[in-house]
């Protein structure tokens, strides 16, 4: 008896150790892609000078190198990391609370809602608090929040059941896609190009402000989710089980849904539609560490960050000088990798 308990404990310990190892590996991988992202660029700067500029921003003799590294490469690279992590976390928790493997900021129409907001701002040339440069991200944010509110409102009618919320999300997706088409139809060619480019998803607008805003939201939401890791893990056993463990499923769902809405809205409002990461990063993480949210949550964040960071590097390598929208690269480059993972694991994702 005692030996079975101790061996079970032993197994648990090795499993935890293996998961921790996976997390560390993902973190190392992220550090590598981030570093590589900062080291590469169309200017083909020598590695030594870039490292110098990175390490001592104030004392570098090469002004241009320092400008490129600090004003252009770093904001883009960090935006990729933060947005990738945010979208992945949003996707993970949506899949968890809605108990649906297809849930993600993109499939539930939040990206489309944000896109509609952005398109309206671009078409109308609106200003937010008297600043036109805030209008596009601001309206995109409002769009995403509106989408969330609509899903929540519909879900609420039926006691926040996951099936209804998913259906509402899909309806929202179609609604905002057709509204978006309408705006595009009304736009002149130059405006249309601007809208389409926004929709592609691009890191081109990244600045220290984007990094700051998205990072603040991410780090504000993380502790909120961290408090619920046990409840979320329990929810994966099924709603009834979770209830019997004394969890108020509706309140949990509402709380997490709010957090996820904020996260998604902040992430997509600056970089546009990046569909793939929010759907796939959670599955990759789940295949690697399973359902335990203590590991799943951080690993999904790391996976999302690595994916977007790698896509950022790739988009620079594909066509140096021009800007291939990162949204395009992510899906095209990420999909084969995802398929390989599914085939090798024999479908561990659910």
């Amino acid at each position: 008896m005692a030996s079975t308990v101790s061996s079970a404990r032993q197994r648990e310990r090795t499993r935890a150790r293996r998961r921790a190892f996976t997390l560390v590996t993902a973190f190392v991988l992220l550090s590598i892609t981030l570093l590589f992202d900062i080291l590469t660029g169309p200017a083909m700067l020598p590695l030594g000078e870039v490292s110098m500029a990175l390490l001592s921003p104030t004392t570098t003799p090469q002004g241009m190198v320092s400008t490129i590294v600090w004003e252009i490469r770093l904001p883009m690279a960090l935006t990729a990391v933060v947005v990738g992590a945010s979208l992945a976390i949003a996707g993970t928790e949506m899949q968890t609370i809605l108990d649906n493997p297809l849930a993600s900021p993109y499939t539930l129409g939040l990206s489309a809602a944000a896109g509609f907001g952005a398109a309206v701002a671009i078409l109308s040339g609106a200003a937010l608090f008297g600043r036109t440069e805030w209008a596009v991200p601001g309206f995109a944010f409002l769009g995403a929040i509106t989408g969330c509110a609509a899903i929540y409102a519909v879900g609420r009618l039926r006691g926040l059941s996951s099936g209804i919320m998913v259906l509402a999300g899909i309806a929202i997706l179609f609604l905002f896609q057709s509204l978006l088409s309408l705006v595009q139809y009304l736009a002149s060619p130059e405006t249309l190009q601007e809208i389409v480019f926004w929709l592609f998803g691009s890191l081109l607008k990244a600045s220290w402000q984007t990094v700051a805003v998205t990072a603040v939201v991410l780090f504000a939401v993380l502790p909120l989710l961290a408090r619920d890791v046990w409840r979320l893990t329990a929810l994966r056993l099924g709603e009834e089980r979770a209830r019997s463990l004394g969890i108020d499923v509706e309140r949990l769902r509402l709380r997490v849904f709010l957090a996820v809405s904020l996260l998604t809205a902040a992430a997509v409002s600056f970089v546009g539609t990046i569909g793939f990461v929010g759907l796939v990063a959670p599955h990759v993480a789940r295949m690697l560490v399973g359902e335990d949210q203590r590991f799943l949550l951080p690993l999904a964040a790391l996976c999302g960050a690595v994916m977007l960071s790698a896509a950022s590097i790739l988009s620079k390598l594909i066509s140096p000088g021009a800007v291939v929208p990162i949204g395009i690269v992510t899906a095209v480059a990420g999909l084969p990798f995802f398929f390989v993972l599914i085939l090798r694991r024999g479908g561990g994702a659910r």
Binding site: G41, A127, P189, E194, P320, G321, A322, V323
Partner: protein
């Protein structure tokens, strides 16, 4: 099933309209065959009186001369009033009749209506090449109804296409001498720029061009091998977007810094609802253009660009590219790049002369603006 129903009804309408239009075609003898820019042989009436025009409004007016606008029964108004608003207003005050011309819709917006065109009973439809391609099978519908369609192209920005398009307009509008004069002026002016650039020799200076519709806070499109990109190469510059973007698209801001252009051109226009876009065009004070250019110099690293240090930051009117008078802009770019070789040229004067000689309005406003002053 309902799809077929709609389709057959549309076919029926077209056939019905065609039968109305047919007598007009019979009436309009004598006819003449012309060849358009796509090498299409088209038979048109010798003196066309009812024209539907899709684009190239200024070029049409320049070749057709006084009274040419009275032959217009339909235009793609969105492509004029919407895209080049200050220009539209300037022409409207000179030719009030423009506002009465029917709007046939615009190809890019998907609003171009074949039925509307046919209802106007035109004896000629003139389209830009991109409109012709965008219309697809609708062109066949027009032709089936007996309405000849002729295609022009100034967008390619080649002397050959410019000359063919201009002479073709002259032939269609019964103004062959005027057209020949315009075409010769254009070809000669471009040749002269190319000759002087070749004579000046030296290394081709790196040039960056960006569309200023979003303002300095965002990266606007640059042009590869079309429009401004083509003009920069003709003017002896090395367009840094060449080979990076095929037609247009934004460049990585880091690449622009690394390429360190010797001259920067920002293309401006009269975009409504844009309080940060670079405003240019008819009736715009060049000081406003300069004010909108100022934030571009504050972009990260731009103070170190050669173009800024050597004070070569300029704005060009976006409506000036792909026109019969874009040689004036070509001269301007060339003069910025090779000031010695073009010391005796006054590109703004060239532009003004074109308007004085061929068009009903004057070129007053912001068309070629140096940020640091001439």
């Amino acid at each position: 099933m309902s799809y077929h129903h709609v389709l057959s009804r549309r076919r029926f309408t077209i056939a019905a309209l065609a039968s109305i239009a047919a007598p007009a075609v019979v009436r309009a003898a004598p006819r003449v065959a012309v060849t358009d820019v796509l090498d299409r042989r088209v038979t048109v009436s010798r003196d066309v009186a009812r024209i539907v025009l899709g684009f190239y409004f200024e070029d049409y007016l320049a070749v057709g001369g006084p009274g040419a606008h009275e032959r217009l029964v339909g235009i793609s108004r969105g492509a004029w009033e919407g895209w080049r608003n200050s220009q539209w207003k300037a022409y409207l005050s000179a030719l009030p009749g423009l506002s009465d011309i029917a709007d046939v819709g615009e190809v890019d917006a998907g609003t171009f209506s074949v039925e509307k065109v046919l209802s106007l009973d035109p004896d000629l439809v003139i389209l830009a090449e991109w409109q012709y391609r965008g219309l697809g099978s609708a062109v066949a519908q027009l032709e089936a109804a007996g309405v000849p369609v002729v295609v022009l192209d100034y967008n390619t920005q080649s002397v050959e296409r410019h000359v063919i398009s201009t002479r073709l307009l002259g032939e269609l509008l019964g103004r062959p001498e005027r057209a020949a004069r315009l075409a010769d002026t254009y070809a000669t002016a471009v040749e002269e720029v190319v000759r002087r650039v070749a004579a000046a020799g030296g290394e081709r200076p790196a040039v960056y061009v960006e569309l200023g519709n979003k303002g300095a806070g965002e990266v606007g499109n640059s042009y590869g091998d079309v429009m401004w990109g083509r003009l920069i190469e003709l003017a002896g510059g090395a367009n840094i977007a060449r080979g990076r973007v095929s037609r247009w698209g934004p460049l990585n801001p880091e690449y622009v810094l690394a390429a360190d252009p010797e001259a920067v051109f920002i293309a401006g226009s009269y975009w409504t609802n844009r309080d940060r876009a670079v405003l240019m065009g008819f009736g715009v004070d060049p000081e406003i253009t300069r004010r909108r250019l100022a934030p571009y110099l504050e972009r990260p690293g731009w103070q170190r660009l050669q173009a800024v240090r050597e004070r070569r930051i300029h704005a060009l009117y976006h409506g000036g590219a792909r026109t019969l008078h874009d040689y004036a802009y070509l001269q301007y770019i060339a003069k910025v790049l090779y000031p010695e070789a073009f010391r005796d040229e006054d590109p703004l004067r060239t532009l003004q002369a074109h308007y004085e000689n061929y068009l009903p309005i004057r070129a007053e406003g912001a068309f070629m603006v140096s940020y640091f002053g001439a």
